[in-house]
Symmetry: C2
Subunit: 258 residues, 2 copies
DNA sequence: CGTTCCCTTGAGTAGTTTCAATACTTGTGG
DNA sequence: CCACAAGTATTGAAACTACTCAAGGGAACG
């Protein structure tokens, strides 16, 4: 499994994580090749640099190769985080069909991205309907994650919400082969965590202390240490099925044709 | 404009509202025809009846012809509403690419739906790339609405949240030609409104009273009376651009090819 | 005409925000 | 290497918002 990942990353260094753990198993070798060749250029970004801007008419999209990105909506001068992307995510594929984005996408910490012109995506979509459906699927995953965030905000308290964020990122990193044994690096400040959880920085500090006391998970300086992931998951009643990884909602491997 | 709508509804009685006010202007006449012919059967549903079920392997999708639908996620026995659909919405198009849904879709009040087999959608997508992109666009609209709901839950208080729901539905109904002069019917209970706003039924009752006092908008027995939409919009700082209707984020009419 | 569901109101409690003060961390330049 | 500044994190106390529990009123349906 892990060696499979290594092999794929060697062949597809920029897109080897795309849909990994989800429908990558339904991709033909030729399709992986095509996706890899979509990337026209690679860039390194520093934390906070924009990947895509609200309202800009864009002619290219971006895949996140390394690092994280956040989706941000401005309101009354305050930036609100409404989404978080991990390596392998085709972060502004929506811009291809929407033409203009309703929000900003920013690098979170240092990141490496690949750019793809919309003209090339168009070609691929017109000629390879199966691959087109996979790209569509990728954007629908983001929508499913959005729905879970809505649920999280409707249903959980601050401590549970941040636990949910940790559980989700942990699972998503796992799926793309970046899961660590007991924690991972996530370069967010408490104020940013608060923004994602619909609370204040001060209250987030208290929520994190409660998490520490009750589950043993510590978040300091952008690093999560989580000795007992099961306790964390139980704390926020985390059910990962919305991520469409192996399990309940996924169809038997490769069976995407019907 | 209104007569244009009447004409289209006469020719396309089931799908004449699909993408209306958004990219319908970029649809060729032939494409509208194809979409209309996708519908294989029509059904009437009573309030609460399921349109699609979480986890079910589905071979057809649904377009909402009349009435409303809600997206629901169950948790600890409680149903949480994470989305609301209006006539013209292709409510479970995501099921086509996802194969199984992560949530339930239920009729809200009496509704009329049209069923489309996935096999037919597949045919259309494989043969008509432009139409495929429009269908993709439609699912991305839902994602944009989800993001706005996240923002709403992060940023607004209970009274503003419910005002936001009203503003959004008002605008969406307008776009599909169902806008009333000063209000509309929306068969929700206060408990359901509360669920969408991440609060309790009791608190929703108070929030609605506050809304009544401060904006003049009254919601009673599933009907919104809104003598001053501008006041309501200002109350929750509603910015409709995320709906991709005419305005900021929409490209000049019909200019979807590039 | 009564049952049921929905809405409203009150009072006490829990959770969250705000403001303010203090400490820790990191990077910069002396 | 230290001093300093800026950003980040923690804590306390008071104010506020929202939740829970409970009771009563109203509309709709059979």
């Amino acid at each position: 499994m892990a060696s499979n990942l290594q092999r794929e990353l060697q062949r597809f260094p920029r897109t080897g994580r795309f849909l990994r753990g989800r429908l990558r198993s339904a991709m033909a070798d030729q399709e992986m090749q095509v996706v890899e060749e979509l990337i026209e250029s690679e860039h390194k970004l520093a934390g906070g640099e924009p990947i895509a801007r609200r309202g800009a008419e864009c002619s290219s999209s971006t895949i996140l190769v390394e690092g994280f990105a956040i989706r941000v909506i401005e309101r009354r001068g305050h930036a609100h985080i409404v989404g978080l992307q991990v390596p392998g995510d085709f972060v502004d594929l929506p811009a291809f069909a929407l033409k203009r984005l309703d929000h900003d996408i920013l690098a979170l910490g240092e990141a490496k991205i690949g750019r793809v012109s919309h003209a090339r995506i168009r070609q691929v979509i017109d000629r390879q309907p199966h691959l087109a459906r996979l790209l569509w699927f990728a954007t629908l995953l983001d929508a499913a994650i959005h729905r879970e965030w809505i649920l999280k905000l409707e249903d959980l308290n601050a401590a549970q919400r941040v636990a949910h964020v940790f559980c989700e990122i942990c699972r998503r990193l796992d799926m793309v082969g970046l899961g660590g044994p007991n924690g991972f690096s996530l370069p967010l400040t408490q104020a940013q965590l608060a923004s994602m959880c619909g609370t204040t920085a001060v209250h987030m500090s208290r929520a994190l202390r409660r998490l520490r006391d009750e589950t043993g998970a510590t978040f300091r300086h952008g690093k999560l240490q989580c000795p007992d992931p099961a306790a964390l998951a139980q704390f926020c009643e985390f059910d990962p099925s919305y991520l469409y990884g192996p399990g309940e909602l996924q169809l038997p491997g490769g069976d995407y044709e019907d």
